[in-house]
């Protein structure tokens, strides 16, 4: 029986023609990697060079590639070349991509847990490190948030009340509105769809503004910087990469919004929308984890 089912779902698969975009994308990544590498080197040395320009050229190429590639893709999709099976490939591809992103964040969460649960207590003499504390860091005390590093750098802890809490609420609401937009799309309620999308995008932007505000506050008033030891390191890398993902997510939502205005999606055929909304939910879930582990605990 299972076999029969499978036979039914197998349609003629659409194998796309040759395309110049992937190699443009590869060149873009080359320029970005080579440019960024040189840019970082030049910055530390205080020299001027072509690194920054190469990086910019790479980003421009990448944008050019994305626009071109997506234009092709949208065109092909709209002309009905795609099958349900292809739609499944896209969906699964997106799901695994999000899984890889989860693992990227896992590396930084891992660093956070390791530092809190293992490295700091050891520096303070826990486990088999009594002599570490006695000989090397006699004055160090392991607390979290780490407001004074073993090397003596001091900083302030970021509380969870206020901005972070507002941001949590904003993102949670945006996740809900994003879902409503999806429901509206499937029910072909166009006005509702547009409204909910607009709200989601606005909430995303609002989140970003508040996040920038929080950073300014941290740097100006709290002496909490990227250089403030492991607390500042994990704080800024986790929230920073999350912020970059929110930025990307918002851009995706804006593109989807424009496509909605053009009437691109149908209740049956809206992979791009679904991918965008998955991404947005994923970004929200990461934030909830962040809020819990970085701010509250």
């Amino acid at each position: 029986m299972a076999q029969q089912q499978q036979e039914q779902v197998y349609e003629k698969y659409y194998v796309p023609d040759q395309s110049p975009w992937p190699i443009v994308g590869a060149v873009a990544l080359f320029l970005i990697a080579y440019g960024a590498g040189n840019f970082v080197i030049e910055q530390t040395k205080g020299e001027s060079g072509y690194g920054g320009w190469t990086l910019l050229a790479g980003i421009a190429t990448l944008i050019f590639m994305l626009v071109g590639w997506f234009r092709n893709q949208i065109h092909e999709s709209m002309s009905g070349l795609y099958s349900a099976q292809l739609g499944r490939s896209y969906r699964q591809g997106m799901a695994w991509f999000i899984f890889s992103e989860v693992m990227f964040f896992a590396a930084f969460f891992g660093a956070l847990f390791y530092a809190r649960v293992i490295a700091l207590p050891w520096l303070d003499g826990a486990s088999n490190n009594a002599m570490t504390a006695e000989v090397l860091w006699p004055n160090f005390e392991a607390i979290w948030p780490l407001t004074k590093t073993p090397g003596g750098v001091e900083t302030t802890a970021m509380g969870w009340m206020g901005l972070p809490l507002y941001n949590t609420i904003i993102l949670l609401i945006s996740s809900v509105t994003c879902h409503f937009a999806h429901v509206a799309l499937e029910k072909q309620q166009r006005t509702k769809l547009i409204a909910f999308m607009a709200v989601t995008i606005l909430l995303g932007l609002f989140f970003l503004v508040l996040q920038v505000e929080e950073y300014v506050h941290a740097y100006r008033e709290m002496n909490l910087t990227l250089q403030s030891g492991i607390y500042g390191n994990t704080f800024f890398l986790l929230t920073g990469f999350h912020g970059m993902h929110v930025t990307l997510g918002t851009i995706i939502l804006i593109v989807l919004f424009l496509r909605i205005l053009k009437g691109h999606f149908t209740p049956e055929n809206h992979f791009a929308f679904q991918a965008g909304s998955w991404y947005w939910h994923f970004v929200d879930v990461v934030w909830v984890m962040l809020f819990f582990f970085v701010y509250i605990l």
Binding site: L123, N128, M131, T132, V135, L136
Partner: protein, 365 residues
């Protein structure tokens, strides 16, 4: 003559060393146990394989059988290896737990790795010093014949007593190193900012050699360890002597503060110190390695900025490979080497630095 025989014996050494401690003996036995089990497994597996390769080959007219999947066989070849593993696990765990127990030691030594030398500090006595590879550069560059202990000799070996539990506190000043003496079966990473503990209890007096066992940069291959184990009485005499020498050296240093050395003296001492302490990175000709270690020849700081020069040599430069030499060299050595750097290789500034200048910087005057 005996050295001759021992080095030729080494030449064809195939197996692990048994070493000279109870633990290293246990480790050796464990190694042999593992080795024999592995050989037996290999013989059985390869035997079955070669048997079929020979007797079940098509050219001998073998017809393929048709059997496959047998739960019984498959359970057997899952369970039997598992049992073998359990047999291995017990002695391994026992030895490991003994090795990781540094309690009740009688002597404690702080071992600090840095690029590319070891520093030993006797925690119960007033003795501490650096230990640097003693093999000449010319031997390495194939200009002189290589000596018997090529690459495995140091200027000042570590000295420990026999028959006593000696605890090592292992750490590092810069990158990760690893303190390894095969004859003791001790290998512990030296992690900057953390202290790992290891211990040994050597039965026989003798000279034991080892090497740094973690990639630590350019001269990782040139960071040997030499340990001399002495009878407790001899060891005690050695410690007393060292305490005496080190106390005198400190007095001498105070005395030198009041004196001025001549340019010639400074340059001669300076060159020696430079070759010993600085040349590994900045190169004997002061050119450095572009992009890795800065050149001193024509360096703006060396030529023009005396304060910065003193500071960087004495206190090091955070976030780079430049070490703080205050704790490694005496004040007169520091004075000499800085003078040397400011006047060698055409850097002819004519500047002279004296021990008292160094003292002034170090005491913050």
């Amino acid at each position: 003559v005996s050295a001759e025989t021992s080095s030729t014996a080494d030449q064809y050494q195939l197996n692990l060393r048994k070493g000279v401690t109870e633990i290293s003996g246990q480790v050796y036995d464990l190694h042999m146990l593992m080795f024999i089990i592995c050989v037996v497994i290999a013989v059985l597996v390869f035997g079955a394989m070669f048997w079929s390769m020979f007797f079940h080959r098509k050219s001998r007219g073998a017809q393929p059988a048709n059997f496959h999947e047998s739960v019984k066989v498959e359970i057997a070849w899952t369970v039997v290896p598992f049992i073998i593993l359990v047999v291995m696990a017990f002695p391994a765990a026992k030895t490991l737990i003994a090795m990781e127990d540094p309690e009740n030691s009688e002597v404690t030594i702080l071992v600090t790795g840095s690029q590319w030398k070891w520093h030993y500090k006797y925690m119960e006595n007033d003795v501490e010093y650096y230990s640097v590879m003693a093999t000449q550069q010319e031997q390495i560059n194939n200009k002189f014949a290589k000596g018997e202990n090529y690459l495995l000799e140091v200027d000042r070996p570590l000295v420990i007593p026999t028959g006593k539990k000696v605890r090592f506190l292992v750490t590092s000043d810069d990158v990760i190193h690893s303190w390894w003496v095969p004859d003791f079966a001790v290998k512990k990473d030296a992690n900057p900012g953390f202290i790992n503990e290891a211990w040994t209890n050597v039965n026989e007096p003798g000279i034991y050699r080892g090497q740094c066992a973690e990639l630590c940069g350019k001269d990782h291959g040139f960071m040997p360890i030499v340990v001399i184990a002495k009878e407790p009485a001899e060891y005690q005499a050695w410690v007393n002597e060292q305490e005496d020498i080190q106390r005198k050296a400190k007095e001498e240093e105070q005395r030198l503060l009041a004196m001025n050395m001549t340019m010639e003296e400074l340059m001669v001492t300076g060159e020696q110190v430079y070759l010993r302490a600085c040349a590994a990175c900045h190169q004997p000709n002061g050119q450095g390695l572009p992009g890795v270690f800065p050149a001193l020849v024509g360096s703006d700081m060396v030529l023009n900025d005396m304060t910065a020069h003193l500071d960087v040599v004495i206190n090091g430069k955070a976030g780079t490979a430049m070490q703080a030499f205050a704790k490694q060299l005496t004040m007169s050595e520091l004075a000499a080497v800085i003078t040397y750097e400011r006047n060698a290789w055409g850097n002819d500034t004519g500047d002279m630095v004296q021990a008292k200048d160094i003292n002034a910087v170090m005491t913050g005057q």
